[in-house]
Symmetry: C2
Subunit: 113 residues, 2 copies
């Protein structure tokens, strides 16, 4: 993926995660695959809202679906959260380095005081 494609994909992923109902659906799907009505139940949401949320999650590459007869079953995509994880790990490394430098400066300051 090019930088721009990765950036657009991350935009979509973070956007999809910025909603408590969609995160609750991910929580449920992280445990096991579920149908639309199984996802609607614990959320006390209507089926149309759930379908809309699932479309956002699908467009973000977080979930995938399979049709068996009239039932659509949704599941998490393998590696669904890998993009977010990679992004987070890289920033954490930088942040740790920054706070380590700060600790060092404070320690040096303490020595000369």
């Amino acid at each position: 993926m090019s930088g721009a494609a990765t950036a657009a994909a991350l935009d979509r992923t973070f956007q999809a995660l910025a909603d408590a109902s969609r995160r609750a659906m991910i929580d449920q799907l992280a445990l096991k695959p579920a149908s639309v009505s199984e996802l609607a139940k614990p959320l006390a949401l209507g089926l149309p809202s759930v379908v809309k949320h699932l479309q956002v999650l699908k467009a973000a590459g977080l979930v995938e679906s399979e049709k068996s007869g009239r039932v659509h079953t949704f599941r998490m995509r393998a590696g669904a959260l890998r993009g977010v994880e990679a992004w987070l790990q890289a920033r954490k490394r930088h942040l740790h380095a920054q706070f380590d430098r700060l600790d060092q400066l404070l320690a040096e300051d303490g020595e000369t005081a």
Copy 2:
């Protein structure tokens, strides 16, 4: 924090991260603190846009600022990304367990085939 407060905070954090310019600003601030104009430079954005993005990052608890004379310096908040990290780790545990069960089922299927 209550569950609802945590949910609203996570909404704001993920929303703040769902923009490539804001993520680029975090990248820069993860290396070292910077002023508004230092943040504007590599992004080729006007100062008003940068200020707007910084307000979103601040409201999400990701950055903080300090005023020295006429210059506002922005820095990452310690533990800024901890909420996202905690959320991600919990889902990963569930997902791993799910894919481990799938591996086991496939292995059992292979044995009986």
